[in-house]
Symmetry: C2
Subunit: 545 residues, 2 copies
Amino acid sequence: MTTPAEFYQRHRELLDRAIEAAADRDYWSAYPESPSKSVYGEEAAPAGEAAFRALLGAEFPIEVPGATTTVSTEPGAYVSYPKGDPGDLVAAARAATPGWRAAGPQGRAGVAAEILRRINARIFEMAHAVQLTTGQAFVMAFQAGGAHAQDRGLEAVAVALAESTRIPAAAQWSKPQRGGDPLRLEKTSTVVGRGVALVIGCTTFPTWNSYPGLFASLVTGNPVIVKPHPGAVLPLAITVQIAREVLTEAGLDPNVVTLAVEERGDGIAATLATHPDVRIVDFTGSSEFGNWLEANARQAVVYTEKAGLNTVIVDSTADYRGMLRNLAFSLSLYSGQMCTTPQNLLVPATGIDTDAGHKSPAEFGADLGAAVDKLLSDPQRAVGTLGAIVNDGVLARLAEAGTLPGVLHPSQEIESSRTPLIVHLDVADEKIYTREWFGPISFVITTASTAESISIFEQTVGHHGALTALVHSTSDEVLGQVRNAALDAGVHLSENLTGGVFVNQTAAFSDLHGTGANPAATASLSDAAYITGRFYTLQSRRHVS
Amino acid sequence: MTTPAEFYQRHRELLDRAIEAAADRDYWSAYPESPSKSVYGEEAAPAGEAAFRALLGAEFPIEVPGATTTVSTEPGAYVSYPKGDPGDLVAAARAATPGWRAAGPQGRAGVAAEILRRINARIFEMAHAVQLTTGQAFVMAFQAGGAHAQDRGLEAVAVALAESTRIPAAAQWSKPQRGGDPLRLEKTSTVVGRGVALVIGCTTFPTWNSYPGLFASLVTGNPVIVKPHPGAVLPLAITVQIAREVLTEAGLDPNVVTLAVEERGDGIAATLATHPDVRIVDFTGSSEFGNWLEANARQAVVYTEKAGLNTVIVDSTADYRGMLRNLAFSLSLYSGQMCTTPQNLLVPATGIDTDAGHKSPAEFGADLGAAVDKLLSDPQRAVGTLGAIVNDGVLARLAEAGTLPGVLHPSQEIESSRTPLIVHLDVADEKIYTREWFGPISFVITTASTAESISIFEQTVGHHGALTALVHSTSDEVLGQVRNAALDAGVHLSENLTGGVFVNQTAAFSDLHGTGANPAATASLSDAAYITGRFYTLQSRRHVS
């Protein structure tokens, strides 16, 4: 047995460094993103693949409170998972709470850091599980589903530990009294979790989008029920398995973390989210269900990441080729199946000034299509960028958008991937571009001027939300206007990305992901507001004896 | 003109010290609580009283957006105030927002500290205004309505400044790239307020309960509409007047802070709280309206302090006289018209062990009544403790409770004050003691044992909420059990108070007041959770040029 306090001592240096990085917002990462042998060793790749293969076609080895049956919902995986009753899961979580509360913030952070260490040790197995369930290419699965997800998890641990220890556990209070001894009290402060937490995973980024909520709730003293999307169970099942293993080793009730699976259509997310004892809900997925949760899970604090209209304002550029290359990659990565992929590219009808001359919207659209074709010209490399389409909904939207007039770049099929569809629209076509088209579908929208682009950006993002925004301009005045518009619309902004940084990617410990400032989300990964609603600090005080 | 940055420099040392105190939770206070000449000077008292008298019977000099009429709602004050239309107030607040956002966290904290400095400079005038409107005795009005309220305001400024600057305004990000130059970005982070804030004041502590929300919202970038209770307008009118004066001097739109008065029954609090542009609501008052706000002001984050069943567990004591004296004062202070006054005193039927021998519940009840009588034996001193009854609702409850069987200590009339009514109940009388009896009404409730007392405490407070809890016991085992029960019920605890610290008082910078962990409130004054929902941090990033 290793106590929570011992796990904390073991990982203290890492945790201190992570807290420092989250405060500085400079570059820092705890988990290497390169799957190379020089980093993870000669044996890691084959061993991870073998461990992954051993899971396929079998019942996943995990204990689930109250489970009497199993389900198997992932296409092509044939893994089955024990299925627990929602009431039993909540009861088991409640029963596990007192011991978890008693572990204290540092003890809980130590356990969390050990869970992450072991997840990282199984990163190749995890990458295969993410690849299988999401359709991401292996390297992307390794990075986004492995190292970057772990970094986002550790970031949440760090911010949770920092925020839940701002009020010291013990304090001495001594108030001077005129003509007498001071009044003296000793005071203790205890962090108490809000209650049972529920994490509802998504199908495209099962780990990256679940780890912040999972670890934020854990470190602040809450038991967590992890409810994966039926299409992407395995990555979170592995995660929960590891968490339970560490909890058991720490002498704690493993039901601090449990797995809640379902048959497609069972709707247990809604059942659990509205259970009176469930007090925290983290959700990533559709705006429809996210809005439903916000309206109906009234007994809980609800953190959602939904969808919106990611927007690019193209005004001018000093690096036309770099801009096109960067945009082409952003549209193509994972076949646009990211909540951060740009959808609406606003271009003035008068065209844009570039280092390669003035370009009309039509020229820009053609050049962007050519840049996409160049990026994806090698089929094998293309699949490595595009991954696979995750479900039929994406294909249906792609088919629908393909019938629109003004197609600039048709989508092509490469194995189970699809290349970006780019359609030209006019600013008047707002019925089309104010809808979210999740998948490889983007619009080049002609506006009267950059001023109108900014106005459309502010209105549409303010009203419908967005996870990302990007501007290309060589004018300081325009950049200033767009920065102000981004603050008014409430969205994070990237400016003039022409190199190896892309608008659809954010870096843990430096970039916030999402914001409650627009309708696409209610929280940022991971700032203090994402943490402080998950716990209470309760005090007691007494005279000093 | 003094810019916000200059105000910040002027008050920087104070703000740094306040942030430090809020982190340490030891004793600290910025504003002296003694109204003595040695502290505030020879002239402060008469000058403050003269300034107060000059306000009476006149129209209060303050500009209110859209005001065309005035109202006068405070009994005995005859002060009239310009009345603005809710829509105009919200529009004016919105118009004032961009300049306030641009002032930045430090600039806003500097302006807030200057507002508090000038409020403190008018503390005698304020104390008279609080005394007139709340019925508190002068010294209590000076302390709770003056110095302590200012300390709570500064505490909110400090925590707001600390929390809104955790993410630095600028950061450099440099990611190593294998075989190439590092990827380098510069990133800026901007604090953006959530939107228009509304502070709904109460009649008993118009400043103490309003300042935390007012200053927390201000410093995090939100304009604030201050809506006083119709019975206690003057203290908040003075506050808003000062705030507008400082804002104007700082070159800012004074409509960052506005006053919203109404005729009794107008219900503008509900109108404003549900306005789509009002995004933050702070409320102190009845559970009924607080719960209504939580259910209906869905577009806003709602911080409420309502009411509950403040409970005392009496198990045993090593200082019987000290315990009785301390309890007698807690029941008597401001005629029990505090959200923190103990209502339910749980005593085991088997009696309590004390340093003065074993005491039956009947003996304890009689001795408590005698301690109250002794405390209030001198009529003039009694009025100084009791203050005046604030409204007819209190008198009606007192009359109703006076007809219960088992009166241990009847309430007596001393001028416009009332002494505590103490009634004996059995644990089976839950229909009576699970109701909140705001005012000088307390129950000595006989339980089977301390174990049952603890169980009743946990159940009733968990279900109905409480602002305070107190235990008297000489047993470490019992104290441990009650501490655990307080964590489970979710309430702050005081233990064995027998001296000059009282369960109904909390100290800024050290004690949290209220908690979202039980139904009596949704927030603690002032922890990070009270702050972080009031703003967003928005980032922008670009390549380093």
